[in-house]
Amino acid sequence: MQQSAKECGKPLVRIRGLRFRRGERWIFDGLDIDIPRDRITAIMGPSGTGKTTLLKLIGGQLVPDEGTVEVDGQNVHALSTAELYRLRMRMGMLFQSGALLTDLSVFDNVAFPLREHTRLTESMIRKLVLLKLEAVGLRGARDLMPSQLSGGMARRVALARAIALDPMMIMYDEPFTGQDPISMGVLVQLIRQLNDAAHLTSILVSHDVAETLQIADQVYVISDGRVVESGSPEELGEGGSDWTRQFINGLPDGPVPFHYPAPALSDDLLEGARC
């Protein structure tokens, strides 16, 4: 924590010149992002732009081809395995699917990181787990198995598990996708509350524009491996490029065409007639 104090004014996560390739395709091509402390920073972009990939790069699960990722002053990809694991204990990640361990109950899932990384007694762990479950409103569901949970509940359990070790930051991967309006509202509120109550830094990856703009303090929009727009939600709503406006307002046609590249329709149809 001394390091945090020293680095206090600086952003918690600082990404510089990040390049990352999958096969022949550059997913990221010179990405610069700063994630300030104690805020909710949203990273938005269409599906397949590499939002999940970005979170995995920050968590050290993937290694960039070029560029650096610093978390709390430490270059994630220069750390030894032991140091990386120590850093990860201070990061929580909420996977798109929840990623709960299917052979453990809700209670044991939330208790899992505590049992792995602390020497707390069982009675202490029980209290902590119940408090975390209370925070996400699922104390009553502690004996259920993950297969018995709805998608929204599974995500809330995963959230309780992610905050079990009181991390300094949480990364949310598409927390709203596939949620009904009520669980969506619940999650929106939870993310905001957790961030403000526990002085967490939150990174929220999403393409659900309305919900994201509603809670984010700062937004980055990425497309084609670069940041195309950044600023507060208000700034993004007002101005911005054609592309951003299309994305934010969900217009079917614009700089991102409705049609996948193809020859003219008339040519295609005539072609078929000739054969």
Partner: protein
């Protein structure tokens, strides 16, 4: 033609790198012993699902194989008036060959495929990634206990197979076909050598257990994380394990009895 060579080369490279990855996986598996020593519970749970749940199929199969051996052995031996050697014949076939080999094949089909599917599904549902992000190494935490459980289980299962096989042979030979009971057991006792037969059989089943579990764990961990990828990996586990067991059996037999 050039294409053929190119795709052959690509296939060869892919197979070789996969073989390399499989060998590299052995280091974290062994390193996982530390976690197991700290928390034996991890191993015990896996011993149950990998080993104990396989006992029934092994026991039933052993019994039937022994009964067939008793029947066939009696038919052949009685032609030369050698029925008294039936006990020895049944026991030797089981302890030297059928016990280790059939146990390993059944293990690959029952437990190996389940291991691959379980690990593959954990990968496909991001549970392994989730563990990594919780600063828990899935190779130590998930793979190693399963690997050692298989390594320990297979020799024990092979022993159960052989014992029940002998019992089956005795039921048919001594019970149905009226071979002299004393001769049956005596012949076995005198014919079977502890070192040559029992120890060599145990060595075989340890090797088979290692190979089968290693293949199962690796295929699950290395699979393409989709439903199709998991199903392919499961098939590969059974096919590769069976071929490896039969091939290695020849090599080991040649070394031991050749």
């Amino acid at each position: 033609m050039l294409n053929l060579f190119a795709s052959l080369g690509a296939w060869g490279m892919a197979s070789l790198t996969r073989l390399g990855r499989a060998h590299l996986l052995l280091f974290p598996l062994v390193r996982g012993l530390l976690d197991i020593l700290r928390r034996p519970r991890l191993l015990v749970d896996q011993l149950f699902s990998v080993g104990v749940l396989t006992i029934l199929i092994i026991a039933v199969a052993g019994l039937f194989v022994g009964m067939v051996l008793g029947l066939q052995g009696y038919n052949v031996l009685s032609r030369f008036g050698g029925e008294t050697a039936l006990g020895f014949m049944v026991a030797a076939s089981l302890v030297r060959e059928l016990g280790p080999v059939l146990t390993a094949l059944l293990f690959a089909g029952r437990a190996g495929s389940a291991l691959t599917a379980e690990i593959g599904l954990m990968k496909a549902t991001e549970q392994l990634s989730g563990l990594e992000m919780m600063a828990v190494n899935p190779e130590h935490r998930v793979l190693a206990p399963r690997f050692f459980a298989g390594l320990i289980s297979v020799p024990l299962l092979a022993a159960i197979f052989s014992c029940l096989g002998v019992l089956g042979g005795w039921m048919v030979g001594g019970g149905l076909l009226g071979v002299d009971q004393a001769a049956f057991w005596n012949g076995m006792q005198e014919g079977i050598d502890f070192h040559d037969d029992v120890i060599n059989g145990v060595i075989k089943s340890v090797v088979f257990g290692f190979v089968c579990t290693w293949i199962a764990v690796f295929q699950g961990y290395d699979c393409v994380p989709t439903s199709e990828g998991v199903s392919r990996a499961t098939t590969r586990t059974v096919v590769h394990s069976s071929l490896a067991v039969l091939g290695l059996d020849f090599v080991l037999t040649a070394l031991m009895f050749g």
